[in-house]
């Protein structure tokens, strides 16, 4: 008898895009989560509405590891087009479930094979013909539930959440799932070792995606204006604003304290957001790489005219159109230097869904505090997939509105003030916003050279001192942005730096390195640029720093080499970009291979 493997394997489900399998997949994910088992789900979907192959992978991990794995122990396929690939992808000893209407040869003898009467059961389900394909997905939910031991009660909870309590939809799906489970109990004999069992490791968590969290964070940050243009994988961020703002930010008489506008393109989206930011509103836009490229010119104006605005980039893999539905961390250098002329930008790097919430409100505070564009870099993996996350925490600091002068303030100053003067030595000037009725309130915003009073000038010294002040302001930003999370280890011999959604892979890789008797790393997760002093200290400590990121060129390494040239030779890139989230195995192997060369 082979040894049972409980709560420690990956499932991949292969379907056809547009067939409605997402409901089934998320139902499985949520049911497992409700069983208290740490779980993660990755949707690998095509840029297409209907017809191309799509995969969904679920990892259950009793140890709490939620990074993607390359190895798949349980594979389900409903798609003849990917059947061969799917069959080949099953780990030896694994389980292969397939729709029995696919009449293709099964050439492997080292795995357990389970046919599923998907078409037949969908036909028997009491639903209209148009819903048959959709309900067919519930057949594999029922069969997997039976064969892996997923509790029916948690499946029902997941369905009830998904269908928002609509009994008819819940029942018709659940009936199919139950029928499929019964069929499996009577007709399939389990011969693989994989199953799940209830744990108690998820009670402190909820499940959410990063885009929803970002939108909610911005709403709790007092967001007043957002403009956006649809783009995968960022659209659901702005759409979530439209879902939650009416619930959270209308007055008792139904009036809005906010406006969200779908623009005609990204050029306009950022233009509107900057107009609103100049007008004194907490303002943002959200997009992905191609949109960022279009926004470059306006981002430079906001930097130079010193207008607060928050720009979310939910990254997808580029360059160019790239793979619109695949993830990467490829926009870091572009955004760090975005727009022409001398400048470095402020970037926040959320590493989890609850951090997307936190940085959602913090970014608005920083933008107004610093009178500057603030970028937040998420990615498709973080933004669109469902993650286990700590519940969202109510902001622990009041709204930061920055140095804004109103009528009463100007009255006290006898109307004497200068828009671009560094009165406090922090590089941050005072500003007024339209609607201020004091006769000395008005100033003329511009992207052209200006003096302390915002008047046009071509004077060489004035230009240079203004640029020096902007640099000083950037140094102030260094003291205000989120500090890194450092996991020091006694006797660590190497440093690892990573950011955003790669954290789970790095955490697990560190455990794997230990198991393999490899080097002992200390881990710094960077949460913002510019680098705070903690980053400098960390880098100083180690002879070798491995910088892990999901891009081809090692973009953070490029930036750190540029801003800390004295340490550049310490930096080693662990970078890789194929559109999929990094795996712990790859991170570990690559670090070990590089260590061997030394």
């Amino acid at each position: 008898m082979i040894e049972k493997v409980i709560n420690n394997f990956s499932i991949t489900i292969a379907t056809v895009n547009g067939s409605g399998s997402q409901t089934a997949n998320v139902t499985l994910l949520r049911a497992l989560f409700k069983m208290g088992i740490p779980v993660s789900g990755k949707n690998l979907f095509p840029s297409n509405i209907q017809g191309l192959p799509t995969w969904y992978t679920i990892r259950v991990s009793k140890d709490g590891y939620i990074a993607r794995r390359d190895e798949q122990e349980v594979v389900v396929t409903l798609n003849p087009a990917s059947f061969g690939r799917d069959l080949a992808s099953v780990q030896p000893g694994g389980a292969f479930f397939y729709a029995d209407d696919i009449k293709l040869p099964i050439v492997r003898t080292d795995i357990s094979v389970y046919p599923m009467p998907v078409k037949l059961m969908a036909r028997d389900a009491n639903v209209s013909p148009s819903l048959r394909d959709y309900i067919a997905n519930m057949v594999y939910v029922g069969i997997l539930a039976q064969m892996l031991g997923i509790e029916m009660e948690t499946i029902q909870q997941a369905l009830s959440f998904h269908f928002k309590g609509r009994t008819e939809a819940i029942d018709s799906n659940f009936n199919t799932i139950k029928a499929a489970a019964e069929w499996a109990a009577q007709n399939l004999k389990k011969s693989d070792p994989y199953s799940v069992a209830r744990m108690d490791s998820t009670s402190d968590y909820v499940m959410a995606d990063g885009n929803t969290a970002a939108a909610l964070g911005a709403i709790y940050g007092g967001l007043q204006f957002a403009a956006w243009y649809p783009i995968t994988p960022a659209s659901t961020l702005a759409e979530s604003l439209n879902v939650f703002l009416p619930q959270l930010r209308k007055t008792a008489d139904g009036r809005q304290t906010y406006a969200v506008l779908q623009a005609e393109d990204e050029l306009a989206a950022i233009g509107m957001a900057i107009g609103a930011g100049w007008g004194g509103l907490r303002s943002m836009t959200s997009t992905s790489g191609p949109g960022i490229s279009l926004m470059a010119e306006y981002a430079g104006l906001a930097y130079f005219a010193e207008v607060p605005v928050v720009i979310w980039d939910v990254q997808r893999i580029g360059p160019s159109t790239g793979l619109p539905t695949r993830t990467a961390q490829g926009d870091l250098t572009e955004i760090f230097f975005l727009s022409h002329g001398d400048k470095q930008n402020i970037i926040l790097l959320p590493g989890s869904v609850d951090e997307c919430f936190e940085f959602g409100w913090k970014a608005l505070d920083l933008a107004e505090h610093l009178q500057s564009p603030v970028f937040v870099l998420s990615d498709l993996d973080l933004g669109m997939n469902q993650w286990m996350t700590k519940p969202f925490k109510y902001p622990d600091t009041p709204l930061e509105r920055g140095k804004v002068l109103w009528e009463a303030d100007l009255e006290k100053l006898n109307g004497i003030w200068s828009r671009y003067k560094d009165s406090d030595g922090d590089g941050i000037p005072f500003r007024t916003v339209p609607g201020n009725k004091h006769s000395s309130a008005a100033w003329f915003g511009r992207g052209t050279g200006h003096d302390e009073n915002a008047r046009y000038t071509e004077d060489a010294n004035t230009w240079e001192s203004n640029m020096a002040r902007l640099k000083n302001k950037y140094d102030t930003a260094r003291t205000l942005v989120p500090r890194p999370i450092i996991k020091a280890a006694k006797g660590a011999t190497i440093g690892i730096i990573a950011y955003s959604s790669t954290e789970p892979a790095v955490e697990e890789a560190i455990a794997l390195l230990k198991k393999a008797g490899g080097p002992k790393p200390a881990f710094l997760r960077l949460r913002a640029l510019p680098c705070t002093t903690e980053v400098h200290k960390f880098i100083k400590k180690f002879e070798r720093i491995y910088i892990v990121e999901a891009n081809r060129d090692g973009q953070l390494r490029q930036i750190l080499s540029a801003v800390l040239p004295e340490h550049a030779l310490k930096f080693h890139s662990i970078c890789h970009s194929d559109g999929l989230p990094l795996t712990a195995g790859w991170v570990k192997d690559t670090i070990l291979a590089q260590e061997e060369k030394i």
Binding site: R255, L267, I270, W278, P391
Partner: protein, 346 residues
């Protein structure tokens, strides 16, 4: 600002001086200066408080001009062709404010055409003035999209393409106020500006504003044709003769066509709309623009108006208090809501 007792003041208690801007750095004789001066007068006449106006512009000669009027108004000189979006966002800050945008033919009809038309279709409440001279002045004399077919410019050759008619584009985008004027017809410019400033929604005002320096060919729609014998290559121009702005003397009667003499003696044909022209009919407006094109007229006056449509900001059902004056308490949801939000997650 204090005003001498002898100075005339309007109902807002302000003198003309309170509406002035910085001295213009545009060429002497530029039509844009005359428009700036009429904006000053129109705002004074309407008793608008300068602090209750926002000024916007894109990039180009025209876009510099907001600095030359209403010094006490907030202004933002944005990017080339992108003023429409900048203004659209800013309009939400305080909806009690009025807004004036100044653009040019390059800024609106070339690089900014998309944004312009979308701003128009949203009925964003601002006066959008195109100072239209059919030429790129600030980069020294290239064709713009409103340049007429066959126009011959030094170092550019002959324009092969049909011009963009800004009024036609505005109408096609469902503008709620469309007018055209000529910078030299100060009285009409002022009256149209006053109507535009009083309009409920987007008011597109296409003002033919001759470029004294670069659009200098005879019979050109947008010209003063000053230098037909001037042979200096465009990029070496260092001497710009000081010319007077062209003005129309005497009453320009409705319904009449008037020849306007340019500096070199060439003419353009201005056609003022008939007294009984009905500007509430969109079909009329299209027809008028079509026949003007056939007759080689520049038809001036209020072509179309519709006061019934809600403005962009009205469609949002915003609170009474200007958004930019809301207190923190209005902006951050109450602490107890966070548990409900977390319970909405799975």
């Amino acid at each position: 600002m204090t005003t001498p007792a002898t100075t005339q003041i309007n109902k807002a208690g302000l003198s003309k001086n309170d509406y002035r801007g910085l001295p213009s750095t545009l060429c002497q004789g530029c039509g844009h200066n005359s428009i700036a001066s009429q904006i000053t007068t129109a705002c004074y006449d309407l008793d608008i408080v300068p602090e209750e106006i926002m000024k916007f512009s894109g990039i180009g000669c025209s876009s510099k001009s907001p600095a030359y009027f209403l010094n006490r108004s907030f202004g933002f000189n944005g990017l080339h062709g992108r003023m429409s979006s900048l203004a659209t966002g800013a309009l939400f800050a305080d909806t009690s404010l009025r807004a004036i945008g100044i653009s040019g033919d390059g800024d609106t009809a070339s690089i900014g055409m998309g944004g312009f038309k979308h701003m128009v279709r949203r009925n964003a409440p601002l006066v959008y003035i195109v100072e239209n001279n059919g030429v790129y002045g600030l980069t020294k004399g290239q064709f713009s999209a409103t340049a007429e077919e066959g126009l011959n410019l030094k170092h550019q050759g002959i324009n092969q393409y049909m011009p963009v008619d800004i009024c036609m584009e505005a109408l096609a985008s469902n503008a709620t106020f469309v007018a055209r004027s000529f910078a030299g017809d100060a009285k009409q410019v002022k009256e149209l500006l006053k109507s535009a400033l009083s309009h409920h929604g987007v008011a597109v005002l296409d003002i033919i504003s001759p470029c004294v320096t670069f659009n200098n060919q005879e019979n050109a729609f947008h010209s003063y044709t000053w230098g037909k014998d001037h042979e200096a290559p465009l990029h070496e121009i260092s001497f710009i003769p000081a010319l007077d702005e062209i003005e129309l003397f005497g009453e320009f009667e409705e319904g009449t066509v008037r020849e306007v003499k340019m500096h070199d003696g060439s003419t353009i044909l201005l056609k003022k709309l008939e007294k009984d022209y009905d500007p509430t009919s969109r079909a009329n407006a299209f027809q008028m623009l079509e026949s003007a094109q056939l007759n080689n007229w520049l038809v001036t006056g209020l072509l179309y108006i519709d006061e019934s449509k809600p403005t962009l900001t009205e469609t949002f059902n915003l609170v009474e208090t200007p958004l930019n004056r809301l207190a923190d308490l209005d902006l951050r949801p109450a602490r107890e809501t966070i548990d409900k939000i977390n319970s909405m997650m799975f």
